[in-house]
């Protein structure tokens, strides 16, 4: 884990992007988007989280093992969310 030293310039640029995206997400939330509010908010959140992960947390230069931990956690989070929520979304179709 002695990857290259990230230059401060990169950090400042990523920070600027994060602040910009924060302003965008707050602004967009005031628009009338119908049911899409959460979707848009979470999507912007995913972009911001990826920026933090890749640059601030140095995932870009991290070992495969670190990537494995990240991807595994997201995969298992997906299992939990998809299988649980699918129960709730299909309950009303047929009741017994």
């Amino acid at each position: 884990m002695s990857g290259p030293i990230t230059p401060t310039r990169t950090y400042y640029r990523v920070f600027a992007a994060l602040i910009a995206l924060t302003l965008v997400t707050v602004y967009v939330s005031f628009l009338e988007l119908g049911p899409w509010h959460t979707t848009v908010g979470v999507l912007i959140g995913v972009v911001k989280a990826s920026l933090v992960g890749l640059f601030f947390m140095h995932l870009l230069h991290s070992s495969k093992a670190s990537w494995l931990a990240v991807l595994a956690s997201l995969f298992w989070l997906g299992i939990l969310m998809v299988l649980t929520i699918s129960d709730y979304l299909t309950r009303h179709i047929l009741e017994y």
Partner: protein, 237 residues
């Protein structure tokens, strides 16, 4: 080489292995954290899908201004944290200390604002059990269908558990940062021994990522109902 030997723990072969292990260990811990927050996000998602109007109504009453400012404060603290790692690795002790202290300061600002926000929530009767007025919720302007107070309460409970858990992580992180300051002042954080900063940084950034998702999920789901104190009018298209 003599300094390297002091830094290297007895059970590792070399520094590279030790660094790799420290970072990987933190990543595994963060995977655990993803699932701990993921579990409550899942619960939140299910009730949000079930009771969309109630959740939006409750969200509209939360303090978007403080929520947004706190997001920027936290992102700034992430920047200073990242800069601390840079400072350690290039061996700039003074910059390291400044950045660490700034991170602590920003973290404290976040928590301070959070306390103010909780207090305002309390005054606005938004705290289930402690201060909550069910009658207030049966007639809300701008909501098409009447909301049910218990469901509003449900949203607020999620708000407190999620932000509370996040704040608890912040407090732990602040403790770790204070330890880093002590280490830095003793001159123990060097380009050779920079992993403590890197690893605690990973934790700090993760806590930041959690907040990145809390902002849209908790604060921004009801903002299109335009709280009167914000100058931005709802824009229709």
């Amino acid at each position: 080489m003599s300094t390297n030997h002091a830094v290297l723990a007895h059970h590792f072969e070399n520094l590279e292995q030790q660094r790799e292990t420290a970072a990987f260990g933190m990543w595994i811990f963060l995977a655990t954290e993803v699932l701990i927050f993921g579990a409550i996000f899942t619960c939140y998602a299910i009730y949000r899908l079930r009771y969309p109007l109630d959740f939006e109504a409750a969200s509209a009453r939360l303090n978007v201004l403080i929520g947004s400012i706190n997001t920027i404060v936290l992102l700034s603290s992430s920047l200073t944290m990242a800069l601390s790692v840079h400072a350690t690795r290039v061996g700039r002790q003074q910059m390291l200390l400044t950045c660490l202290l700034l991170t602590i300061l920003l973290g404290a600002t976040f928590l301070g604002l959070k306390v103010v926000e909780y207090y305002q929530d309390y005054k606005e009767k938004l705290v289930p059990v402690l201060a909550f007025d069910p009658d207030e919720w049966t007639q809300i302007e701008g909501v098409e269908a009447p909301v049910q107070p218990q469901r509003v309460q449900l949203m607020l409970v999620f708000y407190y558990i999620m932000t509370g858990l996040h704040a608890a992580h912040m407090i732990v992180g602040m403790g770790l940062l204070i330890w880093l300051v002590i280490e830095a002042r003793r001159g123990l954080l060097t380009p050779v021994r920079y992993m403590p900063v890197e690893v605690i940084g990973l934790y700090w950034h993760f806590v930041d990522i959690v907040w990145i998702f809390l902002l849209p999920l908790l604060y921004l789901t009801g903002t299109h109902q335009a709280p009167p104190w914000l100058p931005i009018p709802p824009i229709h298209f």
